[in-house]
């Protein structure tokens, strides 16, 4: 059986829709370090089956683009929450944590959300300059954070 990594870094977003690529791009950057204690996952959007990826972690960090957060990024602890995102094909991370509790009967590991400020999400659009700068700042924040958890 494959060993479970201490930290799950999960970036989601569509790389083909401008600044929506911020989450996957951050993961690509961290993945280059090949740290076996950090598992990097990307997907277009969160779905209920992702509860199976959350098991047996010390910590989970979701990374997403956000149109409304402060610049360059915001980092916060997540709580399980039954919200309205179930009415969509895409779930929020809080809703995913809630589903985890329902499916497995226990709370999900401690989870955090890193929101990186994005501006333009058009199909085929490149990353905006501002978003690229925000991404660099976020990468600079995540790298020491990951080291602090993995020791």
């Amino acid at each position: 059986m494959t060993a479970i990594s201490d930290i799950l870094l999960f970036g989601y977003g569509n790389p083909g829709r401008g600044d929506d690529a911020l989450g996957p791009l951050l993961i690509e950057s961290i993945e280059k370090h090949h740290d076996p204690r950090v598992e990097c996952l990307t997907d277009m959007q969160l779905q209920v089956e992702h509860v199976t990826d959350l098991q047996h972690r010390k910590q989970i960090i979701f990374v997403d683009a956000d149109m409304s957060c402060e610049t360059p990024f915001a980092y916060s602890r997540l709580a399980a929450e039954k919200d309205g995102s179930y009415t969509s094909h895409a779930m929020t991370p809080s809703a995913l944590l809630h589903a985890f509790r329902q499916v497995y009967g226990v709370d999900a590991p401690p989870a955090f959300l890193l929101r990186i400020r994005g501006y333009d999400f058009g199909l085929g659009d490149p990353l905006t300059e501002q978003a690229a700068a925000n991404l660099e700042a976020a990468i600079g924040f995540v790298q020491p954070l990951v080291k602090s958890v993995t020791g």
């Binding site: 989601y12 977003g13 569509n14 790389p15 083909g16 829709r17 401008g18 600044d19 929506d20 996957p24 996952l41 990307t42 997907d43 277009m44 959007q45 779905q47 209920v48 089956e49 509860v51 199976t52 997403d64 683009a65 956000d66 149109m67 409304s68 957060c69 039954k82 919200d83 309205g84 995102s85 179930y86 009415t87 969509s88 094909h89 895409a90 929020t92 809703a95 809630h98 589903a99 329902q102 499916v103 929101r115 994005g118 999400f121 058009g122 199909l123 085929g124």
Partner: protein
């Protein structure tokens, strides 16, 4: 004819639990009857522009970005078109089987998502139940066993995709003339270990759908239409999801065309543009604009095929046909039943392919001479998907035409919405009950609105009622967390 502009308009924006942003406008006459329904999909634009100018060999890779729900379908349809661009009509046996396996995995996970997470709440709790409970969380609370199976079914389909394509996004499976990498023996064994359980769960899902549909006769006429059907079939008439000829039949079962080479699709299908919609309205040329609209997807496929090649799914199809008394099942909610029959077929087909010694072969690519035009068609989870490309001398995409499944179902969705609105609209108020019923009708088609962007804070939801004079008389706004607010 009454002028549509004089109708009162009710706009419902968007439809929840379908991907992206949708909007429904109901055009009422003076007597508050719904004369016309317009289902808007505002994100459906720019596909062709997105593709034009790209090198053809990259197309299967970046079309995955068109959709967060069915990237593999776009990948494979584009892959088939690009095969033709490099002059390859027939792939190696291993490459063909790997693509089929990938496609079955994609269809299984997509169908599982739709039924277990999006539609089963409607069916198990009833359309009128409160939205706060009529969702996947409600299913988890009340039917934990069912919900967990849904999670695992979806996960299994994703594992098939990952085993063949690599990453969940940006996977590279189909390349010009074949496949990128073989399936490892380790992955084959890993997937085989669970497939028996997967088939069992799919069988249970079929049985559940049969039970729900047969025990609720009030559902039979819900959003029901009398439509033509279009789908791909195998040369022997079997259900075919990856490669075959096109079959179109009228509502009475008579054949319009059969086993048509899909590279001639433009001879039998035309696309009408309407000023109020970004989406085109395809129709069967032989029947004309008024009556040539058709339905695609699971309902069309299971109705249209002569049989299914795997035993459990075929037995389920026979029960489905028996319900239809031998004719077409036109119940719109029959989509769910047909969808699970297909999921069962996918499970059985995956098992067969994993036990095929050629599936781990290494002869993956065929070469040919470059052509200037390529057309790829597959049966995506939501229906027939067309990718058509023309390239210039440098190999750059000069022209692209895509007909996605949701576009083919465009008119049918409008007709179903109109039917439901006429049955449930009472006066001039947009009630939660009406909204619920309209959403159930739309959800049966599982429209993919191609809004794969989901950034936090970017989910505006609004319901508007506009009178004949253009005045907004009611407005309901739904926040990103599902909260409703009447803002007028």
């Amino acid at each position: 004819m009454t002028n549509p502009e004089s109708f009162r308009r009710i706009a419902i924006d968007p439809v929840s639990r379908v991907e992206g942003h949708g909007k429904i406008t109901l055009l009422l006459d003076a007597d508050n009857h719904v004369q016309e329904a317009r289902f808007h999909i505002v994100e459906f634009r720019g596909f062709e522009k997105f593709i034009q100018g790209r090198p053809y060999e990259e197309v299967p890779y970046f079309v995955q970005r068109l959709c967060g729900i069915c990237p593999v379908s776009h990948h494979l349809a584009a892959g088939k078109a690009v095969d033709q661009l490099v002059g390859v009509d027939v792939l190696t046996p291993t490459a063909t089987k790997l693509r089929r396996l990938l496609h079955f995995g994609q269809t299984l996970q997509s169908h599982a998502l739709h039924f277990f997470h999006l539609s089963s709440p409607d069916l198990l709790f009833g359309f009128g139940s409160h939205l706060a409970h009529r969702n996947i969380v409600g299913i988890i609370e009340d039917y934990p066993d069912l919900a967990l199976k849904g999670v695992k079914l979806r996960k299994y389909g994703q594992q098939v995709i990952e085993a063949i394509a690599g990453k969940r996004i940006h996977g590279a499976a189909a390349i010009p003339g074949g496949m990128n990498k073989p399936l490892s023996e380790e992955d084959r064994q890993r997937l085989l270990a669970d497939i028996g359980e997967i088939i069992g769960w799919c069988s249970e899902a079929v049985a559940l759908n049969e039970k729900i549909h047969l025990e609720h006769p009030e559902n039979h006429n819900f959003a029901k239409l009398n439509s033509n059907f279009l789908s791909m079939v195998a040369p022997d008439g079997a259900l075919e999801l990856y490669h075959g000829g096109l079959r179109a039949r009228k509502a009475d079962g008579s054949t319009i065309f059969d086993h048509l080479d899909y590279r001639k699709y433009f001879e039998v299908i035309r696309e009408e543009v309407r000023p109020w919609s970004y989406m085109k309205f395809p129709y069967l040329t032989a029947l004309g604009r008024e009556s040539g609209w058709y339905r695609v997807g699971p309902l069309a496929r299971v109705n249209n095929c002569d049989f299914i090649s795997t035993p459990l799914a075929e037995a389920a199809r026979r029960r489905f046909k028996a319900y239809g008394d031998g004719g077409f099942v036109q119940d719109t909610l029959g989509y769910h039943w047909a969808r699970m029959i297909e999921a069962l077929h996918c499970g059985e087909a995956i098992q067969l392919l994993l036990n095929d010694p050629e599936i781990t072969g290494s002869d993956l690519v065929t070469h040919g001479e470059r052509q200037r035009e390529g057309i790829g068609v597959i049966e995506a989870p939501r229906g027939t998907l067309f990718h058509h490309y023309k390239i210039d001398e440098q190999g750059l995409i000069e022209k692209a035409n895509l007909i996605v499944s949701t576009t083919s179902n465009n008119q049918a969705m409008n007709e179903s919405v109109r039917s439901v609105a006429n049955a449930y609209l009472d006066g001039q108020e947009i009630t939660e009950g009406l909204l619920n019923h309209l959403e159930v009708a739309v959800r049966a088609y599982d429209p993919c609105l191609s809004c794969a962007t989901h950034a936090l804070g970017k989910m505006p939801l609004q319901v508007e009622l506009i009178d004949a004079a253009g005045n907004v008389v009611d407005r309901l706004t739904k926040g990103s967390r599902g909260e409703l607010e009447r803002t007028l």
